[in-house]
């Protein structure tokens, strides 16, 4: 089964072509947020060097968020366009799970983080047992300092992975993550392909029409909304 995977939810853009769980080719670019310029040329090169065409692809996959607003939309739209009218399976995956999956065959607690700006991160926690991941919480947005409080309470060593590693470690007062090879955060389309393969094996057969961006509410925005609602309630009473 041929899987085409794409990730553009952060600064790094990447595409990959896999035969089941075997990577055939992948490209990564990190030259600023210019996914609209780089993704399609990379996809074309991917097909050119492997000799396949988009018609040979069985499953199109992309990370549908969380991540940068522009990046998420470009990625989802690009995959929708590539798969349009082909009647193929199209699977959207969590960008956080994709980067956590890049660490396999690790064992232990994996903390995936993306930079959501202003001290906040998109995060999910996973437990890895060497060949599979167990999700410990849904994808969420929270302050990096709150994440540290939670990790302290867990009290176990953890891997930190993703484009939010730098902001997270600088926000942490006392915790230090286990060392991770820096390349792990940047081969994300392969993680996307691995997530999509798992979902496909579990029976997922979604189409291009069902693929849609996933946005997470930032905690500060949530707070503002609650404050406004409370102020409104107060004035009504």
């Amino acid at each position: 089964m041929l899987i085409f995977a794409l990730d553009s939810t952060a600064v790094v853009g990447s595409v990959a072509l896999c035969r089941d769980d075997t990577p055939l080719a992948s490209f990564t670019v990190k030259n600023g947020n210019t996914h609209s310029e780089t993704l399609l040329p990379m996809a074309k090169a991917l097909f050119d060097v492997t000799g396949y065409t988009p018609d040979d692809v069985d499953v199109f996959a992309c990370s549908e968020g969380p991540g940068s607003f522009t990046g998420v939309r470009i990625g989802v739209a690009t995959v929708k366009g590539l798969a349009f009218g082909k009647n193929k399976t199209v699977i959207g995956v969590s960008s956080l799970e994709a980067m956590a999956r890049n660490l396999l065959p690790a064992s232990g607690l994996i903390c995936a983080v993306m930079n959501a700006r202003r001290g906040q991160v998109y995060n999910a926690l996973f437990h890895a047992n060497g060949n599979e991941l167990t999700r410990l919480c849904p994808d969420r947005a929270l302050a990096a300092t709150d994440l540290e409080t939670e990790l302290l309470a867990r009290g176990e060593p953890f891997y930190l992975v993703g484009d939010g590693v730098e902001v997270t470690t600088s926000a942490f007062q006392s915790l230090t993550p286990l060392p991770v090879a820096s390349i792990a955060a940047e081969k994300n389309a392969l993680g996307v392909a691995a997530c999509a393969l798992r979902l496909y094996k579990e029976g997922m057969r979604t189409t291009d029409q069902e693929l849609s961006p996933t946005y997470l509410r930032l905690p500060q925005a949530e707070r503002e909304r609650l404050e406004k609602e409370q102020a409104k309630k107060g004035s009504e009473q």
Binding site: T70, R117, R118, L218, E224
Partner: protein, 152 residues
């Protein structure tokens, strides 16, 4: 050169101050590439941007992005992002105009109604405030330009 307080007597003079700042930023690359604009409706913020853009992106047709929320002008060496935060009410709004994505690019940002996004200003920015200073003379303005550090 900063901080600076300049008195202008016409729209053209306000534009010229914008152009002056753009030239100063081209010369002194240590100045932050983020200009936060403050001032009431009709005080001349867009005129200031027009003058600024005439240096960085001479071909740009500068309009207030009240409805578009952000205009991008292709510059000679850097793109210019012209934001209007008048209708931005929180971080969700900011996220959905790709604010951080624009700032991550190597450009210059000019932000009208920065009053609305105090929590989202970068670590270092240039603060430009335009005020009407004379009841008798409706075209007279005082423009203050200074470098600021954000509180967050």
């Amino acid at each position: 050169m900063l901080p600076q307080e300049i008195k202008t007597a016409s729209v053209q003079e306000t534009e010229a101050v914008g152009a002056q700042l753009a030239n100063a930023m081209l010369k002194d690359l240590s100045l932050p590439p983020f200009v936060a604009l403050y001032g009431d409706l009709g005080v001349g913020k867009t005129a200031f941007v027009r003058g600024f853009a005439s240096v960085i992106a001479p071909a740009a047709l500068v309009r207030s992005p009240t409805f578009a929320l952000v205009n991008e002008y292709r510059g000679k060496s850097k793109p210019l992002f012209h934001f209007d935060m008048y209708r931005i009410t929180g971080e969700d709004d900011l996220y959905s105009i790709g604010y951080d994505d624009y700032l991550a690019r190597d450009g210059i940002a000019l932000v009208e109604w920065s009053e609305n996004i105090p929590y989202a200003l970068p670590e270092r920015y240039l603060r430009v405030e335009i005020i009407k200073d004379d009841q008798e003379d409706p075209d007279s303005r005082i423009i203050t330009i200074e470098e600021r550090k954000s509180l967050c």
